[in-house]
């Protein structure tokens, strides 16, 4: 072992209590910062996942960003003509299957048609307003998690009865309906269908489970009073985070309003920016406080070793050699503290992740945490950098002392 390592190691070993305090200081900072980051980012990621899962990544609706202009507006720019009846536009996406085929040719992901409508569901004299979404069960699996969310039956049960309907479990509970019951569904056009409940679903988001139902596309079209209606194309992008860019391209190509999940939840996502600033400030503060602790301990060790520095220099040790000894000691404390801190952070994160919670809005029953190597790397780097600075600065000062000053002072 080299001389420098040997002296540094001997110092660390012989001052075990101080070394341990230094190591614990670094470990605590690293551990808590990892736990904080895991918790903050875990809850954020869990929230985003719920958002992403609850809606298609991209929803192409029959709306446009700007309302379709009336024929008179297109002919006359500066003249306003009173008394003209507005032209009613037929709802729905034109040539939806052609658009889907076109999207499938370039879009990395999957597409599925759907019919969105509003209806009033009645069962046992209880009325509930709900969304009725007409889906194609064969395609739906590729764009949403609905098949996995269906309880007491399956999505394919929609084929097993005429006018079959799958209710959110919250909605079924409010209606008092069970699988096998027949509910009366009154669509937007006033059509009334008697639908058989063939399954229930549970998405985990209370607002959806209490207000949404699924039927076949054809059933939803009947309720909307328009055959062939497709008013939404649902897209699942392979890269969730690229949904915004994909949506823009779709909108540019089709002209239909194409909303990515990010756009749909713009307000929430922008609140994450503030949340992240708070998170990294807190994590940074923890690391900074830990760094001061490290600095203090290493400075104390170095200060206490001033006499030894004088001895070594009088023997003929070079300044750089003396400096290296104390920097290695600091790095040793930093490295061991970092490793212990990683284990401590992992255990803390695990402990936090095992805490049970009950949310009225979400299905989560444990604090959401994530295990990201980036958190460990960041905390480790900051701890090592601060240890290095904590060792280097007092070591540099001590190594510059003239041996004669130290020897005179010590004798």
């Amino acid at each position: 072992m080299s001389l420098v390592f040997s002296i540094a190691l001997t110092h660390l070993r012989s001052r075990l209590r101080q070394t341990l305090v230094g190591v614990l200081g670094v470990a605590t900072g690293v551990g808590f910062s990892i736990m904080m980051a895991s918790l903050m980012e875990g809850s954020q990621e869990d929230f985003v996942r719920q958002l992403v899962d609850s809606l298609p990544h991209i929803s192409i609706s029959d709306d446009r960003r700007e309302p379709t202009r009336q024929p008179a507006d297109m002919v006359y720019d500066a003249v306003q003509i009173h008394g003209l009846a507005s032209r009613a536009f037929r709802p729905g996406i034109k040539n939806p299957y052609a658009i889907m085929a076109s999207l499938e040719s370039w879009l990395p992901g999957a597409v599925a048609p759907s019919v969105q409508g509003k209806a009033v569901l009645r069962f046992a004299s209880r009325d509930r307003a709900a969304s009725v979404v007409g889906v194609d069960p064969r395609r739906e699996a590729s764009v949403s998690k609905l098949p996995g969310q269906v309880r007491q039956g399956s999505l394919d049960n929609l084929y097993k009865a005429s006018n079959a309907i799958i209710l959110g479990d919250g909605l079924a509970k409010k209606l008092g309906a069970r699988v096998g019951n027949t509910v009366s569904v009154t669509g937007g056009a006033g059509r009334v269908l008697l639908c058989t409940v063939v399954a229930l679903f549970h998405s985990g988001v209370a607002s959806i489970d209490e207000s949404q139902s699924y039927t076949l596309i054809k059933t939803a079209q009947i309720l909307a009073g328009q055959t062939g209606l497709i008013n939404e194309i649902r897209v699942k992008a392979q890269d969730v985070m690229a949904a915004r860019e994909v949506a823009s391209r779709i909108e540019a190509e089709t002209g239909y309003k194409s909303v990515s999940w990010q756009e749909a939840h713009e307000d929430l996502l922008s609140s994450f920016v503030i949340r992240n600033i708070i998170m990294y400030t807190v994590v940074g503060a923890i690391l900074l406080v830990a760094s001061f602790g490290t600095f203090n301990i290493i400075s104390t060790i170095t200060h206490e070793k001033t006499r030894d520095i004088g001895i070594m220099k009088s023997l003929g040790f070079r300044e750089a050699t003396v400096r290296r000894i104390f920097v290695i000691e600091a790095l040793g404390i930093g490295l061991i503290g970092c490793a212990v801190g990683w284990a401590f952070g992992y255990l803390l994160t695990m402990a936090m992740g095992s805490i049970e919670i009950k949310s009225p809005f979400m299905d989560t029953n444990h604090l959401p945490v994530i295990y990201a190597p980036g958190h460990y790397l960041l905390a480790g780097l900051v701890a090592l950098a601060s240890s290095l600075a904590a060792g280097y600065m007092p070591a540099r000062k001590a190594a510059r002392l003239q041996p004669v000053d130290i020897i005179r002072g010590a004798s």
């Binding site: 001997t10 220099k313 023997l315 003929g316 070079r318 003239q402 020897i407 005179r408 010590a410």
Partner: protein
């Protein structure tokens, strides 16, 4: 053939401390120490003995003058070069042993050898053990300084000073903190070193008995050499 250069030479050595009222610690000292010479530097407290020793050992920088080690001038050397010269050519023994407290006697003696990095580990260990044995410390090689007596610590410090086989040993009050028996042991060790190995030893001391057993005595008053004479023993009178 020219005579070998003196081991140590000081020419017009001056050390002044700055401040509002400048203090002169060493004032124009000229001194030559030959090979195999055992020199005592004596003088009252505050006369500048230790300051002179630190200048001679390159631990301190002179305000004026020059120190030559083995004929080579040192005033223009940078800190690292002076450190390297100390490591190779000079061994120090201080009043307080100044051993590293966490290291064993053997490790302390090996320290200068390891810093020099010439010998392999095994050879360093062998030499350190041999030096400690020669100084009567064979049974104490694995002990730390706090497990040794004052005299033993000082002998470990002498062994450390000899580790790199220097030309010159500089000792600052080496018996200042020791009882009579230990002082005698240390003195005998230094005497033997001069007689048997031909090394030069410069000792700063208050102890007249120690000074009397040296070859030569330089008396310092107010930073100047007041007297420089050979002892009777060195003149063959003792």
């Amino acid at each position: 053939m020219s005579a070998p250069a003196p081991v140590l030479e000081a020419r017009g050595l001056r050390r002044q401390l700055g401040g509002e009222i400048p203090t002169t610690l060493v004032d124009g000292v000229d001194l030559v120490v030959q090979r195999g010479e055992f020199l005592a530097v004596t003088g009252p407290s505050g006369s500048g003995k230790s300051s002179l020793l630190y200048l001679l050992g390159l631990l301190d920088l002179p305000s004026a003058g020059e120190v030559l080690i083995d004929g080579a001038a040192t005033s223009r050397l940078d800190e690292d070069a002076r450190a390297a010269l100390r490591l190779k050519r000079i061994g120090f023994v201080f009043q307080f042993h100044f051993l590293l407290p966490e290291f064993t006697a053997l490790d302390n003696v090996m320290l200068p050898m390891r810093a020099l990095g010439v010998l392999p580990e095994k050879a360093m260990r062998g030499r350190a053990t041999e030096l400690l044995s020669q100084l009567g410390l064979a049974a104490h090689v694995g002990k730390r300084p706090d497990q040794l007596s004052g005299g033993q610590r000082q002998r470990v410090a002498i062994a450390r000073a000899l580790a790199n086989d220097p030309l010159l040993i500089l000792a600052d009050e080496p018996t200042g903190n020791l009882d009579t028996a230990s002082s005698d042991q240390v003195l005998a060790t230094l005497r033997k070193l001069v007689d048997e190995t031909g090394k030069s030893v410069v000792v700063v001391t208050h102890d007249p008995a120690l000074a009397a057993r040296c070859d030569r005595r330089v008396h310092i008053v107010d930073g100047r050499i007041a007297e420089d004479r050979r002892n009777a023993r060195a003149n063959g009178e003792g």
